[in-house]
Chain length 307, copies 2
Amino acid sequence: MGLLVVGSVALDSVETPFGRIDDALGGSALFFASAASLLYQRVRVVGVVGRDYPMNGLDSLRARGVDLAGVTMADGESFRWAGRYGFDLSTRETLDTRLGVFAQFKPRIPEEFRESRFVFLGNIDPELQLDVLQQVRKPEFVACDTMNYWIQGAASRVSLLKLLKHVDCLMLNDSEIRELSGDWHIQRAARWVIAHGPRYVVIKKGEHGAVLVGEGNVFYVPAFPLEDVFDPTGAGDAFAGGFMAHIAKSGNTSPANLRLAMVYGSAMGSFAVERFSIQRFAEIGPQDVMARVRASQELVHFERDFE
Amino acid sequence: MGLLVVGSVALDSVETPFGRIDDALGGSALFFASAASLLYQRVRVVGVVGRDYPMNGLDSLRARGVDLAGVTMADGESFRWAGRYGFDLSTRETLDTRLGVFAQFKPRIPEEFRESRFVFLGNIDPELQLDVLQQVRKPEFVACDTMNYWIQGAASRVSLLKLLKHVDCLMLNDSEIRELSGDWHIQRAARWVIAHGPRYVVIKKGEHGAVLVGEGNVFYVPAFPLEDVFDPTGAGDAFAGGFMAHIAKSGNTSPANLRLAMVYGSAMGSFAVERFSIQRFAEIGPQDVMARVRASQELVHFERDFE
C-alpha cells in the first residue's frame, strides 16, 4: 500500500483579521500529510527544504507514522510564502513569494516509496508531476492538484494536458477549472476535464463546499459550517489529504467510496482553517474526525415523504 | 388550511446571454404560486395589477387551483421590472423599475383568505407585511422575504425588526442577512436573526444552495446541478413556493419536515431557472418534482464506514 505525496514544504507568514504568524510550517505536502496521517499510517512525503528549516517541527508528523525520508535538505533558503486575508477571509493577497531551494526542486522518489499504490501530486510544475509519476511503479489511484499559473503558461499547459492522461482524479478550485476548460459553467467544465483524461474531477469551492464528478456520479459535500474560521491557508491540501488517506486506507476506489472520501476531505479542510498552520491537526484524533463526518451527514440528511 | 401569498404580480423584461423576453409574467407572488401549486391545491394570491395586465396568462395557475380572488386590478400600469444578466448569470443589472399601481398597493386580504394557516409575505414594504399579518386570524406558520432596500432604510428597518417578532421564518439571501445583522459570517448572522424573533432563518445562496438554521438545527441543501441555467429571475420566490407548499400540504412544522421543505424549495428554484418567466412550471407535474427531490438526495448521499 502506501500513500505518496509530492509537493511543497514551506514557511508561511500569514495575516488574518484575527492575528498573524511568521515562518510557520506550511506547504501543500505538509498540510496534506498532517491531515492524511490522522486516518492512515503509511504516508510518505517527497519535498525539499533549505538549511534554515525547523526540522523538529515535523516531529508530530513522524509520531503519526509519516515517512519523511523523501524530504531532502538543499543548500539555500526554504520556500517562503507571505499572504494577507481580507476581513471575511474570502480574498487573499500574496505579499511575498521566495522560492529558495524550491526553484531547483527535482523530486527524486526514494526506492522504498516507488511501490506506493496511492499518489497525490501537489501543486508543482506539471513537468515535475509527470516526472514523479514515471518514478512510481504501478500506482492504483493518482490525484493531482494544479493552479492558474500552470494553466496560463503556454508550455506548462501542454504539460498539464499531457499529465491529465495519466491521473485518475484532478482536484482544483472553481476558478481554476473555469480557466482550464474555458467554460464558466462548473458542470460542463467538469465534463471537459473528464474528456481530457481523468476519470474523476474534484472541484473545491471553499466556503461553498466541494463537488465530485465522474463515472456517472455527481456528489456534493458542503463546507462544514464553522462558527470561527481562523486561517484558510492549506484547506485545499488538507482536503486532499483526507480524501486520499481514506482511499488508501480502504483500498477501495469505487464511486461510493470516493463519496465518503470527499466527506473525510471536507472534514480535514474544516479542521485546517480553525488554527494557523498545521496546528489544529496536532490537537485532534480520529474520534474528532469521525464526529465531524457524522455532523456532515446530519447537515444534509432528510427523509423523503414518498418512495 | 390554505396557503396565502402576498407579493408583486409584475411584468418582467429580461436579457440573458441566451435570449431576451419582454413583458413576461413575473413578480414574487406569481413565481411563488406557480411553484407552490404543483404541490398544494389551496394557494391564495393577494396582489395588484394594472389595466394592462394580460390576465389570461394566469389561466394556468387557475387550472392548478390557485385562487386569484385577492389580485385586484387598479387604474394605471402594472409593475414592470427590466434587467440584464452577465455572462455567467451571477451578476445582474436592473435596467428599469416602474412601480405603476404597485406604488399604491395596500393589500386587503379577502375575507375567505383570512383563515389561511400558512402565510408567505413576499418582498414588499415591511409596514405592509405587518398590516397583512394583522388581517390574518391565526396563522400557524408565517415566512417572509425582504431585501436590501428595506434593510437600509432607517424607518423600514424599524418596521422590519418589528415584523421579525411576528414571523416564524425569515428567508433572505446571503448579502441581505450580512447587511441586516452587520456580520459577514453566515452562521453568526443566522443566530442574530433568531435572537430577533424568527424560530428559523433560510439563507438563499443562489448557485451555492440554501441553508436552514433554527431550533438547534443546521440543514444544507445544495443547488441542483443543472447543465443549463437559462434565467435566474424568480428562483428565490419559487424556492419559497416549494418550501411553504410542502409545509402547508403536510401541515407539519417539525424541524425534520422543514428539512424536506427546503429540498422541495430547492427543486422548485432549479425548475424556475430553466426557462424564462414561469414557463417551466407549465411544463412539469408532481412526478418531475419528485424526481428532482430524489436526485437531490442522491447528490449528497454517502454511507459512513463506522457507526
